[in-house]
């Protein structure tokens, strides 16, 4: 019986939470999946059947490979397991092939890869010190954070219904954040470099990493008032960081450099021809900009300021991915969006440089970078809001102020993901899960900080910087 007890993790609430959400993911297997399912099947086929030189040139299917090489290698490894499930899915010409075994394999691969995410959440929980707060298990910050991360609504519906592999990628990001909290900077940098070569969307938060590592790792000490001590600059550390990034990039892009394919790879990774907004608008600044443009053009037509013949025929809401010219307001170029993004992240970068507050300050900067890039970036997907929500979860169990901002962000962010699932059978699922997450997050954080106000004068739990 004792062995059985240990085996089933009796009393180990973390295992129960992780196993519970895994079983829920298994139940979501027969739900609707989007074209992303075919995308990944196609990539399995490409990496399995074709030589490396063809990977970024193959265009039989419209869903061409547009993630960095590490992800392509990941699909390659997966394809060697896939052949035991259904050999047919690895044929490049089998477009939209989705036999039951293919579905099973793909869904299970996502569920399996989430192991990395579970591990990362565990590491993040170790970074919290919640001893001051009540002894009740469900009121401990560790417990609340585990639920907020493991049972995150956005991740569940994007990964396990819509179909993507964000779980393990966010796992890598959370792990690198945890390592930075644990003062294992080299590991954190390494993990982030690897992550960048899995999915380059994480470039959104690269400035935060760069500035933090430069400021708080390469400069080993601060002056008493917290400002920078130039003499403490460690060249060794800078070189070693650079070396890590360089080696990872070399491993990733090296083969394609040797094949002279870098321009092609980059054109696949950064398709600026896709237009300012994704087919279905992400709720960012440019959506408002487009809406304003449309309103003004309608008014302009009514008041006869505009000539109807000059209005471009294509509509931005048609669901197609294409270039678009604005009618009334000036058209937006990729460079303009970059400048707007840089301006938006400047305040937080400045704070990170001039008044570093340790890993917690880094985390805030990271969240702000993610949010700014989401708001002003070029061709942003609505799923990118998860890049801001998940790191913010770590902050939310720390301070009451952060918790309230987190609640606003997560509720609206998750609600903005609703259009991703538009089929009728999935409607109850998304409503139930959204209610579940929202009710739990609001109530648990309220309970957490209600107590801490009575125990400690200011906000309660401090992040425990392990040294």
């Amino acid at each position: 019986m004792a062995a059985l007890t240990i085996a089933t993790g009796t009393g180990n609430w973390f295992s129960a939470l992780a196993l519970g959400v895994t079983l829920l993911k298994c139940l979501l297997i027969p739900t609707y999946h989007s074209t992303d399912f075919e995308v990944h099947r196609n990539w399995l086929a490409i990496t399995h059947s074709l030589p490396i030189s063809q990977w970024y040139y193959e265009a039989t299917s419209e869903w061409t490979l547009d993630y960095p090489p590490f992800f392509a290698w990941f699909e390659y490894i997966l394809s060697h397991v896939a052949k035991y499930f259904d050999q047919e899915m690895l044929n490049v010409h089998n477009l939209n092939y989705s036999s039951s075994r293919t579905l099973l394999f793909q869904r299970f691969s996502v569920i399996f890869m989430d192991v990395l995410f579970v591990y990362a959440v565990r590491e993040c929980c170790k970074c919290i010190d919640g001893k001051k707060v009540g002894k009740e298990l469900t009121e401990k910050p560790k417990f609340i954070l585990s639920v907020l991360l493991l049972w995150n609504f956005g991740l569940l519906i994007v990964d396990h219904i819509h179909f993507q592999y964000n779980g393990f990628l966010f796992g890598l990001m959370l792990l690198s954040i945890a390592r930075l909290f644990q003062k294992r900077h080299m590991e954190g940098a390494f993990l982030f470099a690897v992550l960048l070569h899995f999915k380059h969307i994480y470039l959104y938060v690269a400035p935060a990493y760069g500035v933090y590592l430069l400021r708080s790792y390469c400069f080993t000490a601060n002056k008493p008032d917290g400002s920078i001590r130039w003499k403490s600059f460690s060249f060794v550390r800078l070189i070693s960081l650079g070396l890590v990034v360089f080696l990872v990039s070399a491993l990733s892009l090296g083969p394609f450099l040797a094949l002279n394919q870098l321009p092609q790879v980059f054109s696949r990774l950064f398709p600026f021809k896709r237009g300012l907004c994704h087919a279905y608008w992400a709720p960012n600044f440019w959506a408002l900009y487009n809406a304003l443009d449309k309103v003004l053009s309608v008014i302009g037509l009514k008041l006869k300021f505009l000539d109807p013949n000059n209005i471009p025929k294509a509509s931005m809401t048609s669901g197609l991915v294409q270039q678009f010219q604005h009618t009334v307001l000036p058209s937006v170029t990729p460079l303009a969006t970059l400048i707007c993004t840089l301006i938006a992240i400047l305040p937080s970068i400045f704070c990170l440089w001039f008044k570093p507050q340790g890993p917690r300050g880094f985390l805030r900067c990271l969240t702000l970078c993610a949010l700014s890039s989401f708001m002003f970036g070029w061709h942003v997907h609505e799923k990118a809001i998860l890049l801001a929500i998940l790191p913010m979860s770590l902050l939310s169990v720390g301070k009451a102020g952060d918790a309230s901002i987190f609640l606003i962000l997560t509720t609206t962010g998750h609600y903005s993901l609703f259009p991703l699932l538009f089929t009728a059978p999935e409607l109850p699922i998304k409503i139930l899960l959204m209610l579940l997450f929202t009710i739990y997050s609001i109530s648990s954080l309220k309970t957490l900080f209600r107590r801490s106000f009575t125990l400690v004068a200011q906000a309660g739990v401090q992040w425990h910087d392990l040294s």
């Binding site: 059985l4 007890t5 993790g9 009796t10 979501l28 297997i29 059978p425 109850p428 699922i429 139930l432």
Partner: protein, 507 residues
């Protein structure tokens, strides 16, 4: 209650699991000409909507009783009629007379699944939540955990949302009945239970304990005073509810008789298909179904059933208590399941509901029983292609129970409520100290056997000479387990007398 938000989260989890299971296949999907229970329910909507009440239970050119004729009491027909009105509003093709036979579409499936969810949400789930909130001497956290485990019980979810049935309605009403009677609202409780019986006649399995408990209460209050008044009031409520439910069918004697004939088909034999009860298991060795004449079979099953439930019921009349009532519900329903006439494998749910109610008192044995009850329906679930949801929900239920109740730490004699029994046995056999050890080993053997049998049924094909081998094995193993539980629960009830007198726990 404090932590209401956790209870809400638990209910939402229960609903999510239910809906995700409902995305899978249903009974008889794509299998003409007879299809399955799903088509039966759709057909009843068609019949009740298009035909006058007088023709619902009779064979006619419009209503072929061989094709899923109505065989539940009138309230089921009324429920079908209500659903039919909604169906007519959405798409009349779903219930068009004759032409809608075998109708299958995504939209229709969504509609049918929604009707189950709504019925569940209105009747069963509130009953469970209220029951857990009313549990005494338990912390709030344990109450919420209890609700989670009950809502995650795989058997009910898989049958109602997978196979397709409306058990949550009748079980929900029965639970309201238990709640009412345990909280001393005897009249409301009886009314709820009458509604349960009138929805599905199988609830009669629970009728005896209700009767004995209420009778015991009347005796306790004194048959010359308040007790007699209570008895009369209860009788009136029962009669009134029956009359109300059956009103359109009491107008003619032939109507009433026909409905009764449909509800209790004594012509169908001792058992049908494979079911985990005594007669089916015995039939493996000796073909009693063919040897004995029909009326002998009837008398035999009647006698065995009543003999096995007599001790518990008599005890309940003499010493009515809420705890005794719940345990008697279990043992009575189990006796009926094991020995009665024409039992279906889904009837195990009638035993599972009372076991869910005693989950907080004997978590280890209850969890074990509920796992076996789900396993006993394996052949049915495999036929409906529900293997993945079955495995996943069973694992989820197991993890929930293990984490909530730490069941493996509650296997001592006292925790299993066998203390007074072992003390009595030790008077004659001083060395009888290893009872809990034996039970733990039995649990291990049982679980290993169930897992092995599941694996074998799924991966291997049966040998040609014995095509039903695995179904029969599943039923046989389950039956053995159920016999053990029958003995166990009866021991608890009968040996409770020694501590019952000291504690004076009568509510």
């Amino acid at each position: 209650m404090e932590k209401w938000y956790l209870m809400t989260v638990v209910v939402l989890i229960g609903l999510t699991v239910r809906w995700t299971v409902s995305l899978n296949s249903y009974s008889g999907a794509g299998k003409p000409p007879m299809f399955g229970d799903y088509e039966a329910q759709r057909h009843w909507q068609e019949i009740t909507f298009n035909l006058p009440v007088k023709q619902w239970y009779f064979n006619s050119s419009d209503n072929n009783l061989q094709y899923w004729g109505l065989d539940y009491p009138p309230p089921t027909a009324y429920h079908s009629l209500l659903c039919a009105y909604v169906a007519k509003f959405i798409n009349p093709d779903w219930i068009a007379l004759h032409t809608s036979r075998g109708y299958e579409s995504q939209a229709h499936k969504l509609f049918m699944r929604t009707t189950v969810l709504i019925a569940d949400l209105l009747i069963y789930i509130p009953a469970v939540v209220l029951y857990c909130c009313c549990l005494k001497e338990i912390s709030t956290k344990k109450k919420i955990a209890n609700a989670l485990c009950i809502l995650l019980y795989p058997g009910l979810i898989l049958i109602d949302y997978g196979h397709f049935q409306y058990n949550s309605v009748s079980l929900g009403f029965a639970l309201w009945g238990v709640l009412g009677i345990s909280c001393d609202c005897d009249l409301l409780g009886s009314l709820a239970f009458c509604l349960a019986i009138n929805y599905k006649q199988m609830e009669l399995y629970h009728a005896l304990p209700f009767f004995c408990f209420l009778l015991g209460k009347c005796f306790k209050k004194g048959l010359k005073g308040k007790g007699f008044v209570l008895l009369v009031k209860l009788a009136c409520i029962v009669v009134a509810s029956f009359v109300l439910c059956w009103l359109p069918f009491f107008t003619e004697r032939e109507q009433t008789l026909q409905v009764l004939r449909r509800l209790f088909p004594v012509d169908r034999g001792l058992f049908e298909d494979k079911v985990a009860n005594i007669w089916c298991s015995f039939n493996v060795f000796l073909k009693i179904k063919d040897i004995l004449p029909r009326h002998i079979q009837l008398i035999m099953s009647f006698c065995f059933t009543f003999l096995s439930l007599l001790p518990a019921c008599i005890k309940l009349i003499l010493q009515p208590s809420s705890k005794g009532f719940k345990f008697t519900l279990v043992s009575c329903a189990l006796s009926f399941f094991l020995f009665s006439f024409q039992v279906h494998e889904k009837s195990i749910l009638l035993v599972s509901l009372p076991v869910c109610l005693v989950l907080s008192e004997i978590p280890f044995m209850s969890t074990w029983f509920l796992l076996v009850s789900t396993f006993s329906m394996l052949p049915l679930l495999l036929k409906d292609e529900l293997l993945m949801p079955s495995v996943v929900t069973t694992m989820a239920f197991f993890i929930a129970c293990v984490t909530s109740f730490s069941i493996f730490e509650k296997t001592s004699e006292e925790e299993l409520q066998l203390k007074s029994f072992s003390i009595s046995v030790r008077k004659y056999l001083p060395c009888f100290t290893f009872l809990s050890r034996i039970i733990q080993y039995l649990f291990l053997i049982s679980v290993i056997t169930m897992v092995l049998l599941t694996l074998m049924t799924v991966t291997l094909g049966p040998p040609q000479k014995l095509p039903d081998l695995f179904s029969v094995l599943v039923c046989f193993v389950s039956c053995l387990n159920f016999l053990f539980f029958l003995v166990y629960f009866n021991i608890i009830i009968v040996w409770d007398s020694k501590s019952g007198r000291n504690q004076k726990k009568i509510s």
